[in-house]
């Protein structure tokens, strides 16, 4: 019974659809549709400050459908729907549920191409709507938090083929989930017209103070856990057609607090019209 409970809790998979992190907005009066898949797996994690090894890997796949609309040259909106499929070792229980949905808006306030020395600066607001999954049960796939994100995005084309960009964001959700602050940094290079590559890192710091198995921790307080993590990532994009690209990405959580040191890979196709 105890083992079943552990496995059931282990399968819980809190997810949160991600925001769009580019300061460069979609083409005015255009739409971009994306279909993507991200796989995450790992068997090591940092519980508080103690690194531990799991008896087996947890695997999770997230399938996402995204839509971005460029309404004007300075304003764009987007949404993302996500379906999560997770399993742990050979546990008989596995699940697939709709995860949280996001609706975002971006407003560019500075255009680097109109102010030679300035970067492009874009403000973003993002609504997070909790998924249809159940909470209050051990195998819930998320924390059940509805909330918002606010971020400032900045980017600069150092050359037509070389760009850097970053994001500073704040996320707040209900259900006693600690707020987060994150910093994202990326560099992208296009060695030829159809191909671009990128490298980046994301640092996330939770404002909570509760560690798993730490003082005051109980299963019911799981959403309150502080989760910090440091992620590095690489990506490549290849244009198959003028309006169709394939993106491949890999990532690794190199350290954290109450976070699994997961390896991630993802693939997506993006088309615009």
């Amino acid at each position: 019974m105890k083992t079943k409970l552990i496995i059931a809790i282990a399968m819980a998979a809190p997810t949160l659809a991600a925001a769009e992190s580019s300061p460069w907005l979609p083409i005015p009066s255009s739409a971009q549709v994306s279909l993507g898949y991200v796989n995450s797996s790992g068997d090591k994690f940092d519980a508080g400050t103690t690194r531990m090894t799991l008896p087996a890997k947890i695997k999770q796949g997230t399938t996402s459908v995204g839509l971005k609309l460029g309404l004007t040259d300075e304003f764009a909106i987007d949404t993302s729907l996500n379906y999560v499929d997770s399993k742990f070792a050979d546990a008989s229980q596995k699940q697939g549920k709709m995860s949280d949905t996001t609706f975002g808006a971006r407003l560019r306030v500075v255009d680097e191409f109109e102010h030679a020395m300035a970067p492009t600066v874009t403000l973003r607001a993002n609504a997070i709507i909790r998924g249809s999954y159940e909470t209050g049960r051990p195998d819930a796939i998320g924390d059940g938090g509805t909330g918002f994100e606010l971020s400032v995005l900045a980017g600069k084309y150092l050359m037509p083929t070389l760009a850097i960009n970053g994001e500073l964001g704040y996320r707040n959700r209900d259900n006693m989930i600690p707020s987060d602050i994150w910093v994202d940094m990326n560099a992208g290079y296009s060695p030829m017209s159809r191909l671009s590559v990128s490298a980046g890192a994301t640092i996330t710091r939770s404002q909570g103070d509760l560690d798993i198995a730490g003082p005051g921790f109980t299963g019911a307080r799981f959403p309150e856990v502080k989760e910090d993590r440091n992620l590095v990532k690489l990506g490549a994009s290849y244009a198959i057609m003028s309006n169709l690209a394939v993106n491949l990405n890999v990532g690794k959580v190199v350290s954290g607090r109450n976070a699994t040191l997961a390896t991630l890979w993802g693939a997506s196709v993006v088309s615009s019209f």
Binding site: S22, I58, A116, E167, F222, S242
Partner: protein
Amino acid sequence: MTLRFIGKIGLALTLPLLASTAFASGSDSFGGESSDQSQYNTGKAVYAQKLACPDCPLAGKTLDKMLAEKLLSDPSLTAKLTEEERMPLMTYLKRRFKL
């Protein structure tokens, strides 16, 4: 025994966090952009950095639909650009001004 149990519970409760690694941050969507979106951004940079910079031929000129049409129709204005620069520029001008 108690410690062992707490350890197992701690272990078990940590596992859920793994799943959030792909999406816990607002920035890890692994999102990409379409090819013409990339071309559009690159073309915008080509215009600003290769044609409209302070020492460039179109310095100080306002890019509007008329100038965009001229750039598209008069190859001499973009003669110094490489093909890898000219194509994104054409994409940018066509999409920006619906030409």
